[in-house]
Every structure is written in structure tokens, then in C-alpha cells.
């Protein structure tokens, strides 16, 4: 019959193609080696679940297999990349908000009486910001990003003020200050993220995100008077037209960190160096967290360049890894051979538990400890030329006692440098509190 002709003749090809592809995908899933880590997502991939009768009966073992199969499927990265392209077709995405909350809390007025200083919570405070990450709320480098606004191929992190957590952050610093009294001067630098600095105030209101300048002022107002709060927001605002934040990553650039450093220097009574005093190096083609984790492919067309400034006195550092092994490394490392998502690792050895620099050109015995998150990495190089000994620890990974460290190494200045997210994230606050109480 002529009618069924073409459908009939197409049929074998259709079936062969479909079952062929299905068979291929099946065989790939069975035979091909499976990855254990995702470079793009910066995490270890799910492992095959351990067997136990209990998990077998309850079905947990099976659902673990499900997750493992999908998470480590050999073609997963290709498929995800394809999906990002498909998602970019969902609508007009020149301006996108991915994730984010609906609005932050109101920031209390800081002028007037300081009131009683906040203290550390005794039991687990009621969990806020503790829900599993929604789509768009991602965990990057172990740091929470609460939401991203993408406009014209630049990503802006979104911040939402939560008073309880801001008080908690101040309380942690107050605890540190009490225990360091008489031994070291405590400085607090809360770094705003790009959404707060680069976007106009009116746009921020429309986006329902919180005013970071006021949030930081509030936090500082809740700290004890002896703690030196380092104000960097206004300084950064002055340089809004410069390349102070990355387009595709949630960090600030070395230039942005520089301006913050100048404020720290002022607070600490040091004379800041000028940028032309440093040797400048560049690492292009950086596609950071906003790109890799949010799935907004348009950011791929606007890659960043990591510009770094090498310290004058020395570029050598010693870093101690989680397993206790110590390695010689570089304060500003050459990352030209690294993957495009890893280039922020050029600074300060990335996020290791404990690192030291000894500057041979300074002999006055000065020592500083920086308690940092990944924002601190870009600022640390500038501090090398002010202290004979510069120590830094990542609050997420350092397991020792900072007070023992301060006593042992005769540290005079302790700088707590955190991006503003960590003042709102339960996980970060818990870790900081543990550190402050050790």
C-alpha cells in the first residue's frame, strides 16, 4: 500500500537508531570507567553505597545506587553541558535571577545606643538558611551562594540580611576578642560581595536584596569596642568602574582586595604600598563559580582574567594540608596550566588549613594571623610585606586552637576576614564558633 510505504520504510531505521543508541548508552553505563570527582562542580561524586541489611530492607541502599549511577555516569558532564544549552533557550535570559530568597530582613538602625552585646548561642539556634540548597542556591568551595543575578553576562551574588545570624557572627568575634585580650589586637573585615557594591542602590531595592553597607555597619556595631572593624564598602564603591570583582565568579579580584587592604592598613597603622611596587602577573580565561555552578551559559562568553600582584619581600610560603603534610608553595602561584575553573587558586595556595610566610626582609618580629575564607586569599599577598611572619588559616579546615597559635608565635595582629555570606550562613557560623571556642 502506497499509504504506509514511507512510514513502513522509515520504521526499521527508526527502531534501529533508537535501540542502537539506547544499547550504546546502556553499555557505556556498564563498561566505561566512572569518574570520582567533578572538577566543574568542585566536589567528590557519590560513591557506590555500602551494603547493610537495614539499608537493603528500607530501600536506602537502592536509592543510593540510583544516585550513584546518575552522579557518576561517564557521559554526565557532556549531558549537563548540553542541558545548560537547552535551559538557555527557555526564555529571554539577558537578565536572570537564579535562586535567591524573596527578601532579606530589615536591618536595625545602628545609630544610638549599642545596647547589650550579643553572646554565643548555647544550644543550636533555630535553623535559618539551613534548608537544602534550592536550584540556584549552590554550594561552591564549601561556601553558600544564596542566589545570582545575571545581567549582560556578569554575575552578581545576592545577599539577604538575617539579624539573628549577624548577631551570632558578632558574638563569635566578641568571644575571640575576650580570649585574646591583652595578647593580640583583633581586626574584623567583612567583605561585601559584588552584588552589593556594583549594583545601584535602586536596582538592589527592586531585587529585594539587602543593603550590604548597612548590614556590615550593623555587624560592626554589635562588636565589642576593642575590635577594629575595617570598613571597605565605601572604598570599593569609589572604584566601581574598575575591575574589582570577577564577572563569572563570586570572589573579588586582586584589585578589589587591594582597595580593601588599604583600609586594613589604615586601621592597623601601616602604610599601604602602591600597586606599581608589585610585579604583576596575569592568567586569562578564568570561568568561575557563577559560570560553573549556576548553569548560566551566557557567562561563558565573558571570561575573566586573574590579575595578581606578587609580594616584594618573598613569594615563598609553606602550606600544611589536611593530612598534616607540609609543602613549599607560592603566595602567588602560576596557574596558567590549570583548568579554567581553578584560576582563583593562584592566590595564597587556595584553601588549606594552615599556611606561613616568613619575609626575610623584615626583622622586627612582627607577626599577623589571618582567619580567612576564600575571599582572604586575594588580600593576603599584600600583607606579606608588612610582617616578618604571616600566618593564615582557613576557618573551615583548621583544626587547632588559634589562641595557642597566637601565644606560640607571638602574634600581635589577628585579622578575621570573611565575605558577607559567611555572616549569614549557619554552617559557616557553626564552624567559626567552634574555632572561637577551641
Amino acid at each position: 500500500m502506497k499509504q504506509k510505504d514511507w512510514e513502513g520504510s522509515a520504521r526499521p531505521v527508526k527502531l534501529l537508531l533508537f535501540f542502537g543508541v539506547l544499547a550504546a548508552l546502556c553499555i557505556i553505563g556498564i563498561l566505561f570507567p566512572r569518574p570520582t570527582e567533578s572538577e566543574v562542580e568542585k566536589r567528590k561524586l557519590t560513591e557506590f553505597p555500602a551494603f547493610s541489611w537495614e539499608s537493603f530492607w528500607s530501600g536506602k541502599w537502592f536509592s543510593g545506587i540510583d544516585t550513584w549511577y546518575a552522579d557518576t555516569y561517564p557521559l554526565r558532564e557532556v549531558l549537563i553541558a548540553g542541558n545548560k544549552v537547552v535551559q538557555s533557550l527557555y526564555g529571554i535570559r539577558s537578565h536572570v535571577i537564579v535562586g535567591g530568597e524573596t527578601q532579606g530582613e530589615e536591618i536595625p538602625d545602628v545609630d544610638g545606643n549599642q545596647g547589650e552585646l550579643p553572646t554565643l548561642p548555647q544550644e543550636d539556634p533555630e535553623q535559618k538558611n539551613d534548608e537544602p540548597p534550592r536550584d540556584g542556591n549552590v554550594n561552591a568551595d564549601g561556601e553558600m551562594i544564596s542566589g545570582i543575578y545575571v545581567s549582560d553576562n556578569v554575575g552578581y551574588g545576592l545577599y539577604y540580611f538575617v539579624q539573628q545570624n549577624s548577631d551570632w557572627y558578632a558574638a563569635i568575634l566578641n568571644e575571640m576578642n575576650t580570649r585574646l585580650a591583652g595578647k593580640a589586637q583583633l581586626y574584623s573585615l567583612v567583605a561585601p560581595i559584588n552584588g552589593g557594591v556594583l549594583l545601584s542602590d535602586s536596582l538592589q531595592k527592586e531585587l529585594h536584596i539587602s543593603d550590604q553597607r548597612e548590614s556590615i555597619r550593623y555587624i560592626y556595631s554589635r562588636m565589642a569596642a576593642e575590635i577594629q572593624g575595617v570598613e571597605v564598602f565605601d572604598t570599593l564603591r569609589e572604584h566601581v568602574d574598575e575591575y574589582i570583582y570577577f564577572h563569572t565568579d563570586h570572589h573579588w579580584t586582586a584589585l578589589g582586595a587591594y582597595y580593601a587592604y588599604t583600609q586594613y592598613a589604615k586601621a592597623a597603622g601601616l602604610t599601604p604600598h602602591t600597586l606599581d611596587q608589585f610585579e604583576q602577573v596575569e592568567f586569562p580565561d578564568f570561568l568561575g563559580t557563577y559560570y560553573s555552578v549556576s548553569g548560566i551559559t551566557s557567562l561563558g562568553s565573558n571570561p575573566d582574567t586573574v590579575v595578581a600582584y606578587k609580594p616584594m619581600g618573598t613569594n615563598k610560603m609553606k602550606m600544611t594540608m589536611a593530612d598534616g603534610a607540609t609543602y613549599d608553595w607560592f603566595v602567588v602561584n602560576d596557574v596558567s596550566g590549570y583548568g579554567s575553573s581553578m584560576k582563583y587558586g593562584a592566590f595564597a595556595g587556595g584553601d588549606q588549613p594552615y599556611s606561613v610566610v616568613e619575609n626575610p626582609e623584615i626583622t622586627d618580629g612582627s607577626a599577623c594571623l589571618v582567619i580567612k575564607d576564600s575571599y582572604g586569599n586575594a588580600l593576603i599577598p599584600y600583607l606579606v610585606d608588612h610582617y616578618q611572619y604571616l600566618y593564615w588559616i582557613d576557618f573551615r579546615y583548621y583544626k587547632g586552637s588559634i589562641y595557642d597559635l597566637v601565644a606560640e608565635k607571638n602574634i600581635q595582629d589577628v585579622l578575621v576576614l570573611q565575605q558577607i555570606y559567611n555572616t549569614g550562613d549557619n554552617g559557616a557560623l557553626k564552624k567559626l564558633q567552634a574555632l572561637a571556642e577551641r
Binding site: L17, F19, L22, I28, I92, I97, T102, L207
Partner: protein, 480 residues
């Protein structure tokens, strides 16, 4: 296991199809199918398979008794049905019952948490339909326990429907014939369903969760426009999700020689609530019609009794969806509109212009899903208040941005709720074959051939891409 997962498609289904193709003879194929189905069932927890085995054993036993001992068949039927419903009641409705007692009388103090075994609502109903059909003489009792078990556990439809009646698959179970033409249709149907679920349903679900969150607290922070958008996305999600599962079931069935009936017929183009229920979850509404409404007397015992029968049926329909009062409310919501249509409007319904009838239906259905979504009364109240302008949240740019960012997705999702693309494809094929205005056009035929050949693989890959990075894969009816 869910259909829309890489493990299911790339491993489980692939191996299952190989087994069905390679094994010779219906008996071998059935054994393999049973093994696969039980594995599929165990995936959610092997302990629940025991329940399935027991329920099936009960029905197997009683159906044979009904045939062998027809004088007492009524007693056997009632006993069997009662036992099955008690089991369903214990696992699904204990918490609900005790919760209500607690709020009324303060007792009991502690409500035990009973995990709902997967698929119990579906296979309980399927088994009940089997026993009743044997009782009515419409079907012979199945002597072999394992074949009955295969019927009850068949992974194509055991988790999410359609509710397949034994008589509709009895022949296929006994004798399977696989035709290339059916396999081809099955492949198309399956991949369409898979893509509909993985790409469309899952994506609008993300938007629905964003703009119509489940808690009163979350809802309070959403501007009114956002709630409306969320409601729309949820309305799309429910249909796309559920109909996709039926598509996949029917498609997989056809690939193996099983013929399941249609479960959805583009319900959102219905012109009345009565029409809607001829198009939505057809296997459920026909179940209630044949096994509850008609036995109760249907409309043959006077208007008053008919009203009562309808009330009972729709209350139960709602309750079947979940052990919570909002589902009962949902069912009775439809009861109300059906009564209005049948008794108050009657013939006058046809006089309303079609466009208006369609719009009214959509509005009615829109709100039914809002009721359906919230088990928590406070959240439901907050949602309804917010939808009608009582929202405290100020409008920001986020809603408009979200709409703009997803406008094409929403358009495609809406079109997917209509027979537009299906009709277009039929016309295109007809033209390629030589009918109609563009008869015999070489380009058209060439394009149709290409599309016919590649669309399954294209949809499969699209779905695979969506599933790969997708940690978000809920199935709304999974509590069944």
C-alpha cells in the same frame, strides 16, 4: 525507582527490553517480566514487596473460591475486598484517622508514623477490580498465582497508573504478539513521555516551587503576581508529570506487546467539568464509576440517592489521592461543580459560548490545583489570600524576570497540554503520504521521514541531558 532516571532508562529498561526480545515464548517472557517488576518494586524497599505478595495471594485465593463456590460468592467478594481495603486503610489512613481523633478528643497522644508502601493505592485498586470482575463473571479467575502477581506488579503501571483492569491485559498475559508497527508507536510514545517529564514537567516544577512554596511562611513572602505564576506552573506541572507517566507506561507496554488504555485526553481543553473528568485520569474515574457509583445504584434510584452517590464517589476520589482533608475538599469541589452542571444548568450549559466555557473550566481547574497542593490549612489560606491581593509582599522585579527568563518554556508547556502538535504531526504525515493539499510533496515527505526516524533519539537525548544534572525529580503521585 522512577521512570525518569538514568538508571531506569539506561540500565533497567534496556535490560528488560533485551529480555523480552531475546526470550522465546510467553512463559519465559512473563517470568522475566515478573522478576524485573519485583526488582523494580523492591527498589523502594523490599519489605513492601511482602505486602504486594500478600494482597495478591488473598485475591488469587478468593477469586478461585468465587468461581468454585458461587453460592457464597458474595461473601467471598466482601471478605476479600474488605481485607484489601483494611490493609490500604492501615498503611495509608491510620495517621489521618488518628490525627483527626486527636484534634477532636485529644486522644491518642502519639500518632505512629507509618511509611506508605509504594504503589499500594494502584495495585490495591487493580486487585479489587480483578476480584469484582471475576465475581461478575466478566473474566475467568487466574489459576496461577505468579501470573496474577505479574498483573499486579507489572512495573509499567504499578507505581503511577494507569489503573489497568485484569480483563484488559488477560489476553496479553496469555499470548503476546509484538508487531513492529506497535513497537514503533511505543518507542515514540515512551520518548515523548520521557521528554515531557524530564524536560517540561521538571522545569516548570522548579518554577512552581519557587513561586508557590509549600509553607505559609514562604508564601507570605511572595508577591501576588508571583503566586499566580506559581499556580500556573503547578497546574502545568501536575498534568505534564502525570500524563507523562501514563505516556511512558503505554509506550513501554506497546514495546512488549501490552495494550493499556489511554489515561489522559488533553484535559485542559475540556469545555466543562464533566468533560474534564472524561479526560483526566480516566482509569481512576472509570474505576469509581464501575466499582463504586454503579454498585451504589448510580442514577437509578432517584435524584436524592444519585446526589448521595456522587457525594460519596467524589469524596472517596479525593481521599484516594492522599490522607489529608484538602484532598477530600478537592474531590468535593468537583462534586459541587458537577452537580451544578448536571442538575442546575443542564441543557443551558451548551448555550454558553464555547470560549467562555473553556475559560471557566480553566479557572475552576486552576483553583482545584491550589487546593490540591496544600495539605496544611494555614498554607492554603495564605495562598488563597495572597492570590486575591491580600499578599503582604511588595512586587519586585523578580516575578517579571522569572516570567521573561522562562517564557518559551511556559509556551511550549502550554502547547504540550493541547493536541496542537499531535494534530500538526498527523497532518504532516498525511501530506507526506499523499493526502490533502500538499500531497506527495517531496520535501515534506523527506522532512517527515527524517523527523519520524530521529525524534525518539532526539527526545531521549534531551531527556538524558535534563536528568543528568537534575537532582530534582519528584513524582507527585509517588505517595501512592
Amino acid at each position: 525507582m522512577v521512570f525518569s532516571s538514568l538508571l531506569f532508562v539506561f540500565l533497567f529498561l534496556a535490560l528488560n527490553l533485551v529480555s523480552q526480545a531475546a526470550l522465546r515464548g510467553v512463559r519465559q517472557k512473563n517470568i522475566a517480566m515478573l522478576i524485573f517488576s519485583l526488582v523494580f518494586f523492591s527498589w523502594a524497599g523490599p519489605r513492601y514487596v511482602v505486602l504486594l505478595l500478600l494482597d495478591t495471594a488473598l485475591c488469587w485465593f478468593f477469586a478461585i473460591r468465587i468461581e468454585r463456590d458461587p453460592t457464597h460468592k458474595k461473601r467471598h467478594l466482601w471478605l476479600c475486598t474488605a481485607l484489601l481495603l483494611v490493609v490500604l486503610g492501615i498503611f495509608k489512613y491510620t495517621g489521618f484517622l488518628l490525627g483527626n481523633l486527636q484534634s477532636l478528643f485529644g486522644w491518642p497522644e502519639i500518632i505512629p508514623e507509618i511509611v506508605l508502601p509504594i504503589g499500594i493505592s494502584f495495585y490495591t485498586f487493580q486487585l479489587i477490580s480483578y476480584v469484582v470482575d471475576v465475581y461478575r463473571g466478566e473474566v475467568r479467575a487466574q489459576k496461577k498465582y505468579w501470573i496474577l502477581l505479574l498483573y499486579a506488579s507489572l512495573f509499567h503501571q504499578c507505581i503511577a497508573g494507569p489503573i489497568v483492569r485484569y480483563r484488559d491485559v488477560a489476553q496479553d498475559l496469555a499470548k503476546r504478539q509484538v508487531h513492529a508497527e506497535e513497537v514503533s508507536r511505543g518507542v515514540s510514545r515512551f520518548t515523548v513521555g520521557l521528554a515531557k517529564k524530564a524536560v517540561l514537567a521538571n522545569s516548570v516544577a522548579v518554577l512552581a516551587d519557587r513561586w508557590l512554596p509549600m509553607t505559609a511562611e514562604g508564601l507570605a513572602a511572595i508577591p501576588t503576581a508571583g503566586l499566580w505564576l506559581g499556580g500556573l506552573c503547578y497546574m502545568l506541572q501536575i498534568y505534564l508529570d502525570f500524563s507523562a507517566y501514563s505516556d511512558m507506561a503505554i509506550g513501554m507496554g506497546l514495546m512488549c506487546g501490552f495494550h493499556y488504555k489511554e489515561n489522559f485526553n488533553y484535559p485542559y481543553i475540556a469545555s466543562s467539568v464533566t468533560d474534564f473528568w472524561r479526560r483526566w485520569h480516566i482509569s481512576l474515574s472509570t474505576f469509581f464509576r464501575d466499582y463504586v457509583y454503579i454498585p451504589l445504584g448510580g442514577n437509578r434510584r432517584g435524584k436524592g440517592r444519585q446526589l448521595l452517590n456522587l457525594f460519596i464517589v467524589w469524596g472517596l476520589t479525593g481521599l484516594w489521592h492522599g490522607a489529608s482533608w484538602n484532598y477530600v475538599l478537592w474531590g468535593l469541589y468537583f462534586f459541587l461543580f458537577l452537580v451544578i452542571e448536571k442538575f442546575l444548568l443542564g441543557e443551558k450549559l451548551q448555550k454558553i459560548p464555547a470560549v467562555l466555557r473553556h475559560i471557566f473550566l480553566l479557572i475552576i481547574v486552576y483553583f482545584c490545583w491550589v487546593i490540591f497542593r496544600f495539605r496544611d490549612a494555614a498554607a492554603l489560606g495564605m495562598a488563597l489570600r495572597g492570590l486575591f491581593g491580600g499578599g503582604a509582599a511588595a512586587a519586585g522585579m523578580a516575578v517579571g524576570l522569572s516570567l521573561k527568563n522562562n517564557i518559551f518554556l511556559l509556551l511550549v508547556a502550554c502547547i504540550a497540554c493541547t493536541p496542537l502538535t499531535a494534530n500538526l504531526w498527523q497532518r504532516w504525515k498525511a501530506a507526506a503520504q499523499g493526502d490533502g493539499v500538499f500531497a506527495g510533496n517531496r520535501l515534506l515527505r523527506g522532512a517527515a521521514t527524517v523527523w519520524e526516524v530521529i525524534h525518539p533519539v532526539l527526545l531521549l537525548l534531551l531527556a538524558a541531558m535534563a536528568l543528568a544534572g537534575d537532582s530534582y525529580n519528584p513524582f507527585l503521585y509517588f505517595q501512592f
